[in-house]
Amino acid sequence: MASLITCPHCGVRPKEEFAIRGDASRGRPEPMDSDEAWHDYVYVRTNPRGRTLEHWHHIAGCRRFLVVERDTATHEVYSVVDAAEFARRPAR
């Protein structure tokens, strides 16, 4: 259930402790990138039915940004990692 998230720092917590920022699958464009690149980054979403990567901010806990991989149809959570660790992973 997506109502419970296992924070890598704090353990199992209810989703009420988190602010959810949405799509974490794409990187931020460079400041001078094209208007289209910025438009896509800010406004356009793939919005999949199935596995998705999202930023969840543990705002009432450790205050770390997390990357949660979960299924938007079944609400199953596959993995939760700290956003800094996620960013250090090799590019996919």
Binding site: S3, P14, K15, G22, H39, Y43, V44, R49, E54, H75
Partner: protein
């Protein structure tokens, strides 16, 4: 069959055995001038106005389930036009005016009940915001009234006026707003469209969109290929998935919104009451059940169910506003999947493909918009030109910097 007092009496006296089905069950033709994907309120009203107002008769509506199985059959039935922004208010007021004539127009009882929608405020700042909203409504010619606390106490005595954190100081009332029976709206539009020759094809899921030389030529469905001149998408909740079939990338996330119905009570709530301390809204159905809901669950979801933590939160908000609610039993809960757009406002527009049209992003305000959405979308499809009241709702508004952001929340769908 046209309904009238005479037809009611005649059918009653003949044992109710001679009622006819309200719409046909046709097999799909090989080709239509316009195919509409999605047999919800907006798809059906689009088909109805296309046929009736714009003379496009060779139309099909494709619905993957049965009529009324999506969001039109699972919402809190509120109709209102108390919006603030100039891009929204004329559109929803156009819808309100269509609601007021809808039963005569459709020859169908949609049980429109203009019982008044009142939005409560709990602080001086919130009162100022509602005064501003009321003034914005008056500027578009829509009546709004500010109700002070003492007057409100006489109107709605059962609210918790002395709550420690959210005392109720008054409210903004739109008297013409109210509720309509959601199922009847779908059935009424379906029957109206059918009478004008529209083919409504249920249990027909679109699995692909066929394109040749850059234009759409038809759709692959579970009932085979169906060709079309123009293709219109009205697949709320699943717009991203349908759009993907034509390589459209949309500014949408799908979120789930829950709503609840209690056991039937004697008439006790006369209005639609909206709680400004949170985002709770409640009305009483004609059957007696209290119908209420609050905010979305917060994370994107395609599951037509929500989580219990949000259900608990909704109950807390309700009991904060009306303490007596704690004694009422909830009979049913349901979750609908909605397109949440990036600014909280809908999208009615052409797409980058010439004969492909888009109607999406209704967030959780789609029901009240059903008539205007259908009318404006039909106008766009028939004339290739945006209806004047829908000009601010075009797809490119994000790129141009003209977002219609009623909540001022920015491009975060879960905050609208």
């Amino acid at each position: 069959m046209r309904y009238s007092a005479f037809s009611l009496v005649r059918n009653a006296l003949s044992g109710n055995l001679n009622w006819k089905p309200q719409w046909r069950q046709p097999q799909p033709k090989p080709h239509y001038d316009v195919i509409i994907i999605g047999g919800g309120g907006h798809g059906l009203s689009t088909a109805y106005y296309l046929a009736k107002e714009f003379g496009v008769k060779n139309v099909a509506v494709l619905e993957k389930g049965y009529l009324g199985s999506g969001n039109v059959g699972r919402n809190t039935t509120i109709v209102r036009s108390n919006y603030m922004l100039p891009g929204n208010e004329p559109f929803y007021e156009f819808s309100m005016k269509l609601w007021e004539g809808l039963e005569q127009d459709l020859n169908y009882n949609v049980m429109l009940s203009q019982r008044g929608v009142i939005m409560l405020y709990h602080s001086d700042a919130q009162r100022d915001a509602y005064v501003r909203r009321g003034n914005a409504m008056w500027m578009e010619g829509v009546a709004a009234e500010l109700i002070e606390r003492e007057q409100l106490k006489k109107m709605i005595p059962f609210l918790n006026y002395d709550h420690a954190r959210y005392p109720i100081l008054g409210g903004l009332l739109q008297r013409r707003a109210g509720t309509a029976r959601h199922d009847a709206v779908a059935w009424g539009y379906a029957r109206g469209a059918d009478r004008h020759g529209v083919d409504i094809i249920e249990h027909c899921e679109v699995t692909g969109i066929r394109r040749e030389n850059g234009v759409v030529t038809g759709v692959e469905t579970t009932k085979g290929f169906i060709g079309c001149g123009k293709l219109a998408l009205a697949a709320a909740g699943n717009s991203s998935r349908v759009g993907e079939m034509a390589d459209l990338k949309l500014p949408l996330e799908s979120h789930v919104l829950q709503a609840f119905v209690t056991e039937g009570l004697k008439p006790c709530i006369d209005h639609v009451i909206v709680y400004g301390g949170g985002h709770f809204y409640i009305s009483q159905s004609d059957k007696g059940g209290l119908v209420f809901g609050a905010e979305i669950d917060g994370y994107s979801s395609y599951a037509q169910r929500g989580n219990l933590a949000t259900a608990e939160h909704v109950m807390e908000e309700g009991v904060t506003m009306i303490p007596g609610l704690s004694r009422v039993r909830v009979l049913r809960a349901w979750g609908g999947v909605m397109d949440m757009s990036m600014d909280g406002s809908p999208i009615i527009d052409r797409t980058s493909i010439d004969n492909l049209y888009l109607n999406c992003g209704w967030c959780y305000g789609g029901f009240k918009a059903t008539p205007a959405s259908g009318y404006c979308f039909a106008h766009l499809i028939a004339k290739n030109d945006t209806h004047p009241v829908a000009r601010a709702l075009r797809l490119d508004r994000f790129a141009r910097g003209y977002a219609v952001d009623e909540a001022g929340a920015g491009p975060q769908p879960n905050l609208h």
